[in-house]
C-alpha cells in the first residue's frame, strides 16, 4: 500500500488529506493550526489522520505541503534581520522605492511607510559597476568591500545577507565574487544574490525580491528542516517532502528552503490546483475560481485546466518578482465589517475584518460589528435554528442586533440591510473576477465558476448569477480543497534570464543554445533530488512585448515547434493574444524580454474515485425545513445532508446543502446535482425567471 499526504496549513485550521495512490480512496482531517510552530499542528493532524483511517504511517511515501509560513513572516514582520549590499551609489534603493506614494491626489498626506526589510543601517555599498550591455565598467574593489563587510559583521545583528548589484541580471560575475568574499566573513548565515533569485531587469524590484528571499529564508529553512526530521522519524527514511510553490508547482524541500520567495502564495496556489483537479475531472477545463475565506477572497482564471501564471507576487504591501498563480485578492470575506460613513450614508463593506477574534457577532467570541457572516445569518443562509454537525454555534439575535445598526444608519429594513451587505461583498468579488476575466479579454460566460473556502459555497450561486459563468461548481470538501491541491500536483522548477532583443535580431542557433542552458539549469534541483532524467519534461516560454511597452505576454512553446517554424512562431502567437486583449496589433517592434525553461517531473496520476448512487432519495437526504430571504422576500427552503447526495439526485432551490465544513446555498430558480466525481453543480432551472 502506498499513500500520499496533502497538508495545507492555514491561519485557523490545518487540513490534511490522505490519498491511496492505487485506489484513489481518501481520508481527511482538520485540526487547529499552531501558529507558534506550524509543524506541531501538522504532526497532530498526521496522528489524528492515522488514527481515524487506520493507515500505518510508514505507508506514506510522499508528503506534499502548502504553507503560509513565508507569507506570515512577511505579513507579521517577523522575518530575519537582513543585511544588504548594493552597488556604490544605490544604497537607498529600497528607501526611495521608485518614489511611489499610493492613494489619489493628496494620498501622500496620510501614507505611512512600513520599515524597510533590509534597514539602511545594515546596508553597505560595494565599489563595482557593470554596464547596461553587461560589460565591466569598474572591477569590484575587494579591499574596501572586505572592510565594509567586516564593519557590518561587527554589528552582530545580521541574520541573512543579500547582494544586489546594478545590471547584474546581465552579468552576475561581481555578485558571485562578492558572495565568495562575504562567505569568508559571514560564515554561518544564508547569502542570497539577485542574479540567482531573480535575474531580471529593474533594480528596485530585483533588490526587494532578493531581500524578501533573505528575510524569510532562515524561518522557512528551519521549519522545513524540523518538519522533514519529524516526518522521517514517523514515516521512515524514504518519505519525500515537497512544498507547493506560488506558481502551483512542487519544489523539493531543499530547493524550497533556498528560494523561499517562491513560496509566498503557496497557500492560494493549493486552492487553485485543488479546484483544477476536481473541475477538470468533472469535465470543466475552463473555470473561474473563487476562494472566499474569513478576511479576503482569492480569485483566479483557469484555461485548459491550467492556471495563468503572473510574473509577480503581492503579499500585503510587498510586491516581488516571482512567478505565481495569477490569483487576485479582494478584502471581502466572511469577516469583513460593514459600516455607513455618516456624511455620505453609503454602505461600505471591508476592508476591515473582524478576523477570527473577535469574529462576527453571531459567533459569540466578543465581536459586535456587523459582518458579511452576520448578514448571512440574518438572511437565513447560515441556519441557526438547527444544530448542524460540526458547524460553529450561531447566535442569530447577536447577528440581528449587529446588522440592525446598518439598517438604522441607512434608514432601511433589517433584511434590506443584510441583503445589501451581501450584495456589496459580492460586487467586490465580482470586481476581482472581472479583473482576471473581462479585463484579460475573456468572457466569463465561457467558463464555469468554482466556489470554495469557508464562505465560498454560501455566495457561489449569487456569484454565478452576477458572472453568468455556469455551472457553479462546489467541489467535494470545499473546506479542505487546498490539501487536495497539494496532494495532486507535480514537482517543478524553472530557470529564466532577461534577453531584451528584438525578434528580428535573434540568431536562432544562439537562441537554441541559450534555451538548452536554461533547460539544464532548471533541471538541476530535480536531478539533485534523485528524479531520473527520463522522468523530466520541459516546456519553454518567452516573454514578448512591443519595444517600449511595459506590458508583456508569455508565450509557451516546445523546442520542436521552434525548430520547425522559427521565431515567427513568437510573433504570430503574440499578435493574436495582444489583439484579444487590446483590440490591436502592430507590424513590427516585437521584443523578447525573457526566456524561461520550466521542467517538471512526470507523476503517476491518481485513480479516479467514481461516486456511485448512494441508494437514498432526495427525501432521505433531508435534514429539516428552514426559510431564507432572497430578492426582497422570504422563501421556504429545505436543508439537505451533502454526505447523502449522490449522482442522480437533483436538489431544487431554494435549499441549503450542509456538510461538515461548509454550507452551500441554492437560490430559488436554481437546482443542484452531483456529478460522478462528487462536485455539486448548480444550474438555473429551465424556464425560471428569477434575477438577483
Amino acid at each position: 500500500m502506498s499513500y500520499r499526504l496533502g497538508v495545507d496549513v492555514g491561519g485557523t485550521f490545518t487540513d490534511l488529506l490522505l490519498i491511496n495512490e492505487k485506489t484513489g480512496e481518501t481520508h481527511s482531517a482538520k485540526v487547529p493550526s499552531t501558529p507558534q510552530d506550524p509543524s506541531i499542528g501538522v504532526l497532530n493532524g498526521i496522528d489524528r489522520l492515522s488514527a481515524v483511517s487506520g493507515v500505518a504511517l510508514h505507508n506514506i511515501h510522499r508528503v506534499m505541503h502548502g504553507t503560509t509560513i513565508a507569507t506570515n513572516a512577511v505579513l507579521t514582520g517577523k522575518g530575519a534581520k537582513v543585511g544588504l549590499v548594493t552597488t556604490k551609489g544605490y544604497k537607498q534603493v529600497l528607501q526611495v522605492a521608485r518614489s511611489f506614494c499610493p492613494g489619489g491626489l493628496g494620498g501622500w498626506v496620510s501614507f505611512v511607510k512600513k520599515p524597510l526589510l533590509a534597514p539602511l543601517e545594515l546596508t553597505i555599498e560595494a565599489d563595482e559597476r557593470i554596464a547596461a550591455d553587461g560589460s565591466v565598467v569598474r572591477e569590484l574593489n575587494e579591499h574596501s568591500f572586505r572592510i565594509a563587510l567586516k564593519a557590518l559583521h561587527a554589528k552582530g545583528t545580521v541574520e541573512a545577507l543579500t547582494i544586489c548589484f546594478i545590471n547584474s541580471y546581465l552579468n552576475s560575475n561581481h555578485e558571485q565574487q562578492a558572495r565568495q568574499i562575504a562567505k569568508q566573513i559571514f560564515t554561518d548565515i544564508p547569502i542570497s544574490i539577485s542574479s540567482e533569485v531573480v535575474p531580471e531587469m529593474q533594480e528596485y524590484e530585483r533588490t526587494e525580491t532578493t531581500v524578501i528571499n533573505s528575510y524569510v529564508r532562515p524561518e522557512v529553512a528551519n521549519y522545513i528542516d524540523n518538519l522533514q526530521a519529524a516526518l522521517v522519524d514517523r514515516m521512515g527514511e524514504s518519505v519525500l517532502l515537497s512544498i507547493l510553490r506560488s506558481d502551483g508547482g512542487l519544489a523539493s524541500g531543499s530547493s524550497a528552503a533556498e528560494k523561499p520567495v517562491n513560496l509566498l502564495l503557496s497557500g492560494p496556489a493549493g486552492g487553485v490546483t485543488g479546484a483544477i483537479f476536481f473541475a477538470s475531472r468533472g469535465g470543466h477545463n475552463n473555470v473561474l475560481t473563487f476562494d472566499m475565506g474569513g478576511t479576503s477572497t482569492d480569485v483566479a482564471l483557469i484555461q485548459n485546466a491550467k492556471a495563468r501564471i503572473r510574473r509577480e507576487t503581492q503579499v500585503g504591501d510587498v510586491t516581488v518578482r516571482s512567478p505565481s498563480v495569477d490569483v487576485r485578492t479582494v478584502g471581502a470575506g466572511g469577516g469583513s465589517i460593514a459600516f455607513v460613513p455618516e456624511l455620505t450614508k453609503a454602505l461600505r463593506v471591508g476592508p476591515d475584518s473582524a478576523g477570527a477574534v473577535p469574529g462576527p457577532a453571531a459567533y459569540m467570541k466578543g465581536g459586535t460589528a456587523p459582518t458579511v457572516c452576520d448578514a448571512n445569518v440574518v438572511l437565513g443562509y447560515l441556519p441557526s435554528d438547527v444544530q448542524l454537525g460540526g458547524a460553529m454555534k450561531i447566535d442569530k439575535q447577536a447577528a440581528v442586533n449587529a446588522v440592525q445598526t446598518i439598517a438604522d444608519a441607512m434608514g432601511i429594513s433589517l433584511m434590506a440591510a443584510a441583503e445589501g451587505i451581501v450584495k456589496i461583498a459580492n460586487e467586490a468579488m465580482l470586481g476581482a473576477l472581472r479583473v482576471v476575466s473581462v479585463e484579460q479579454g475573456f468572457d466569463p460566460r465561457d467558463f464555469a465558476l468554482v466556489g470554495f473556502g469557508g464562505a465560498g459555497p454560501l455566495h457561489a450561486n449569487a456569484m454565478g448569477i452576477l458572472t453568468n459563468a455556469w455551472p457553479v461548481i462546489i467541489p467535494p470538501g470545499p473546506g479542505v480543497l487546498c490539501a487536495y491541491g497539494d496532494a495532486t500536483t507535480r514537482v517543478q522548477d524553472e530557470a529564466s534570464r532577461t534577453y531584451v532583443t528584438l525578434v528580428k535580431d535573434i540568431n536562432e542557433d544562439k537562441l537554441l543554445a541559450d534555451l538548452s542552458t536554461l533547460h539544464i539549469k532548471a533541471s538541476e534541483s530535480l536531478l539533485n533530488d534523485g528524479i531520473a532524467p527520463a522522468e523530466l519534461l520541459v516546456t519553454f516560454q518567452v516573454d514578448l512585448r512591443y519595444i517600449g511597452q511595459a506590458f508583456q505576454l508569455t508565450i509557451e512553446f516546445a523546442l520542436e515547434e521552434l525548430q520547425q517554424k522559427g521565431v515567427s512562431l513568437f510573433i504570430q502567437a503574440f499578435d493574436k493574444e495582444h489583439t484579444q486583449l487590446f483590440t490591436f496589433a502592430l507590424d513590427d517592434g516585437h521584443e523578447v524580454v525573457m526566456l524561461r525553461a520550466v521542467v517538471h517531473a512526470k507523476t503517476e496520476p491518481i485513480p479516479e474515485l467514481i461516486m456511485k448512487h448512494k441508494g437514498v432519495d432526495l427525501k432521505s437526504a433531508k435534514i429539516c425545513d428552514t426559510e431564507f430571504f432572497f430578492a426582497g422576500q422570504t422563501h421556504q427552503a429545505v436543508i439537505y445532508d451533502r454526505g447523502l447526495l449522490g449522482p442522480g439526485i437533483t436538489v431544487p432551490g431554494p435549499a441549503i446543502v450542509n456538510e461538515m465544513d461548509s454550507t452551500t446555498v441554492i437560490l430559488p430558480g436554481y437546482e443542484a446535482s452531483t456529478d460522478s466525481v462528487g462536485n455539486l453543480l448548480i444550474n438555473s432551472i429551465k424556464g425560471s425567471n428569477y434575477h438577483a
Partner: protein
C-alpha cells in the same frame, strides 16, 4: 452650450429612485472602470513618461460632462462651451489647446482624448483621458522651451478636432499632427493607448446600463455627485472660516533672469460657499512659466485634499463644484492671455498645492503639512547615438515629502498620484547614459519634530554628446517649515565636465551642450520640517544618523549631540537649552528669510546670480 450632441434616439432619460445598495454597487463598478482605464493605458502605452511614470489622468463623466469618477476634475464642460461643432456616435475628439478648452489641459504636450459614450442611439456619458506626450514639436526636444515667449514656439496646437468621425479614423489629420513632433512613433502608440483606455470605460458604462437599466445608471450618476455635495457642504463649513485668510508663495524665476513671481490667494466663506480669490498674484511672465489655472481643477485640488478625512472610500467627483467659487485675475501668471507661452507650467501647478496647504493650515496648524515637493522637475537629454539614431529622454525628478502631522516626510518620493520613477536599469538599457548615484541628500529635509523628507541626488553620466534641458524651482525660495520646523534644503544642479571643470546650472535652462563623460548632479529639494526640532526624540535623530539620512552636523539642528555612535545626553540637554533660549519666537511658517535677504545671499549660497525683480508690461502688448 454651443456644441450639439446628435442622438438618433430622442427618448429622454427619466429620473428614477435607485435602491441605495445599487448606488453603492454602481459607484464601485465605476471606480473599477476608472482603475481599468489606467491599467489599459499603462500596458499599451509606449513612452516611458506614461508607461513607467504614469503621467496621465482618466475621467468618466455624466451626460452633462460632470466628472463622476476620475482624478483631476472634469474639463468637459469647459470644452463643450468652447466647441462649436456637432458630436455624433463614434466620434473621438483630440485636443491639446489650453486656450480652446478653458485650460482643461494646461500645456500643449498634454493630449486629451474625449469619447462620447452612446447606447442605443442615446448619449449616456463621457470618458476622457489625457497623457503627457514625449514631444509636441516646437523650439526644443520635449516641447517645453523655457524661453518661449508665445505658444507658437511650443509646438503644434491642436484645437478640438475629430480624430475619428463616426468611427472612422481621420488618417490625414493624424499624420499631419505626427509630422510635427519629434517622437511620432511614441505619440502614435500613446494616442492609441489613450483611445483604448477611453473605449474600455465606454464599454463598462454601457454594460452597467444594460445590467441596471439606462435610467437607473443615469440617475445614479447624479446621486453619486450629490453625495459629494452633501459631504463637502459639511467640510467647507468645518474648515473654511468666514473671515478672510491670505497666503503667498513664489515661483523662483522665469528662466529669463526675472523673479520671483508671487502667487497670492485669499480664502473665505459666505454661508455654504467657499471663495478663493487670487487677486494680488503677479501678472503673466515673459517666458513659459505661466500656468493657465482652470477654476474647476482648483476646486478638485481643494476637495480631494479635504474629503479623504470623512470617507476615504468615497468616489470623489465634481458634485460639490457649486459650493466653491474661484477667481483668477485675467492676464496674471495663473490666467495668461493668448498667445502667452505656458509649457513650463509645472512649477506654478505644484506651488498651488503649497498655497492650498498654507491657507487651510492657518486655521488648524496641527493638521497642516509643511511645504512639500510641489513640482515635477524635468530633465531632457537628446541627441544622436552611436548608430546615428535620435534619442530623447524625458525624466521627472522626485524629492522630499514634507514633515506631516502623521510623521516624517518620505525621502525622494512623489507628491503626484501614481507617479513612479523610471527604473535606472531601464534607462541605461535604452538611452546612452549611466546613473552613477541615486540616493537621497542627507540633511536636505527640514529639521522638525517630524523631519521633512530628503531631496534626491541623481548623478547622470552622459555616454553620448547631446543637449540637455532642465526645469526646476525652489532653488531660491525655500520649501517652508511649519510650527517650528525648519525649511528644507533647496535644489541645485551641478555639471562636472570630463576635464574636471564644474559649473552650477540654472534651475531653468535649455540647449546646454553635454559631451560624453560629463556628469550632471541633479539635486532636488527637501521637504519642510514640521514642529519643533528640539522636541524630537534624540534616539530618532541617532537612527537617522545611522541611516545616513542626517549627518552628525545636521543633528545639531535638532540640538542633538552625537559622539561615538551614541547620543551625548548632557551635551544634548545643554545645547537644546541654549538654542531654545536664544532663538526668536516660533512662527507658524518658517520661510528662511525675506525675499530681499534671500536674494542678498543668493550668489554666495547658490553660485548663481539672483534674478531681477520682475517688470511687467501690459499683457498682449
Amino acid at each position: 452650450m454651443l456644441s450639439k450632441l446628435i442622438e438618433t434616439n430622442k427618448a429622454p432619460f427619466n429620473k428614477v429612485d435607485v435602491d441605495p445598495v445599487n448606488v453603492d454597487i454602481i459607484e464601485n463598478a465605476l471606480s473599477n472602470a476608472r482603475e481599468e482605464m489606467d491599467a489599459v493605458l499603462f500596458r499599451t502605452a509606449m513612452s516611458p513618461g506614461i508607461r513607467e511614470q504614469g503621467d496621465c489622468f482618466p475621467i468618466i463623466a455624466n451626460r452633462d460632462g460632470k466628472m463622476v469618477v476620475g482624478q483631476f476634475g472634469s474639463f468637459i464642460k469647459g470644452f463643450l462651451d468652447a466647441y462649436t461643432g456637432q458630436i455624433e456616435e463614434g466620434d473621438i475628439i483630440l485636443t491639446n489647446d489650453p486656450y480652446l478648452c478653458n485650460a482643461a489641459v494646461s500645456h500643449l504636450p498634454d493630449w486629451i482624448v474625449l469619447v462620447p459614450i452612446f447606447k442605443d442611439g442615446r448619449h449616456l456619458a463621457w470618458s476622457a483621458m489625457f497623457g503627457h506626450m514625449s514631444d509636441n514639436g516646437g523650439m526644443v526636444p520635449g516641447s517645453i522651451p523655457i524661453k518661449a515667449e508665445t505658444v507658437f514656439q511650443e509646438g503644434i496646437q491642436i484645437p478640438p478636432t475629430k480624430l475619428y468621425k463616426k468611427g472612422v479614423l481621420q488618417h490625414e489629420i493624424l499624420e499631419l499632427i505626427l509630422r510635427n513632433v519629434r517622437t511620432p512613433q511614441w505619440n502614435r502608440f500613446d494616442l492609441n493607448a489613450l483611445i483604448a483606455s477611453c473605449r474600455t470605460a465606454a464599454k463598462r458604462c454601457v454594460e452597467l446600463a444594460e445590467r441596471f437599466g439606462d435610467d437607473v445608471f443615469n440617475s445614479t450618476m447624479d446621486i453619486i455627485l450629490e453625495r459629494n455635495l452633501i459631504a463637502m457642504t459639511h467640510i467647507i463649513k468645518m474648515i473654511v472660516p468666514e473671515s478672510p485668510r491670505v497666503f503667498e508663495d513664489y515661483i523662483c524665476d522665469d528662466g529669463m533672469g526675472m523673479g520671483p513671481y508671487k502667487l497670492k490667494c485669499t480664502m473665505w466663506r459666505e454661508g455654504d460657499k467657499a471663495f478663493f480669490d487670487f487677486d494680488g498674484t503677479d501678472p503673466q511672465a515673459q517666458s513659459s512659466i505661466n500656468f493657465y489655472l482652470n477654476e474647476e481643477l482648483f476646486k478638485m485640488f481643494f476637495g480631494s485634499f479635504t474629503i479623504n478625512m470623512i470617507d476615504p472610500q468615497i468616489v470623489f467627483n465634481d458634485g460639490f463644484y457649486e459650493l466653491v467659487e474661484v477667481r483668477v485675475p485675467e492676464g496674471s501668471i495663473l490666467k495668461p492671455k493668448y498667445p502667452a507661452a505656458l509649457s513650463g507650467r509645472t512649477h506654478a501647478l505644484g506651488r498651488v498645492f503649497d498655497i492650498l496647504g498654507g491657507l487651510l493650515g492657518q486655521g488648524a496648524p496641527e493638521a497642516m503639512n509643511a511645504a512639500g515637493f510641489s513640482d515635477s522637475p524635468h530633465l531632457f537629454y537628446s541627441g544622436y547615438d552611436d548608430n546615428n539614431e535620435w534619442f530623447q529622454l524625458f525624466q521627472i525628478g522626485f524629492g522630499g515629502i514634507p514633515g506631516r502631522p502623521v510623521g516624517d516626510g518620505l525621502d525622494g518620493h512623489s507628491l503626484w498620484p501614481g507617479f513612479t520613477n523610471v527604473p535606472n536599469e531601464f534607462i541605461e538599457a535604452y538611452f546612452p547614459l549611466r546613473i552613477n548615484t541615486y540616493e537621497t541628500i542627507a540633511d536636505s529635509g527640514g529639521a522638525g519634530l517630524h523631519r521633512g523628507g530628503n531631496g534626491l541626488c541623481v548623478a547622470y553620466e552622459f555616454l553620448n554628446n547631446g543637449k540637455i534641458a532642465i526645469h526646476d524651482d525652489r532653488w531660491l525660495t525655500y520649501p517652508w517649515g511649519v510650527n517650528g520646523g525648519k525649511p528644507g534644503l533647496r535644489s541645485s544642479k551641478l555639471l562636472i565636465r570630463k576635464d574636471g571643470s564644474q559649473e552650477y546650472l540654472a534651475a531653468k535652462c535649455d540647449d546646454i551642450v553635454v559631451k560624453k563623460g560629463d556628469v550632471l548632479y541633479f539635486n532636488t529639494w527637501g521637504g519642510g520640517g514640521w514642529g519643533d526640532p528640539l522636541k524630537r526624540n534624540p534616539e530618532l535623530v541617532l537612527t537617522d544618523v545611522n541611516r545616513e539620512l542626517v549627518t552628525i552636523a545636521g543633528a545639531l539642528e535638532y540640538g542633538v549631540v552625537i559622539a561615538n555612535n551614541a547620543v551625548d545626553s548632557d551635551k544634548t540637554a545643554a545645547l537644546r537649552h541654549k538654542i531654545s533660549t536664544e532663538r526668536p519666537e516660533i512662527q507658524l511658517f518658517e520661510r528662511g528669510g525675506t525675499i530681499e535677504e534671500i536674494k542678498a545671499r543668493c550668489l554666495q549660497e547658490t553660485h548663481l546670480e539672483p534674478p531681477k525683480t520682475p517688470v511687467f508690461h501690459a499683457a498682449g502688448a
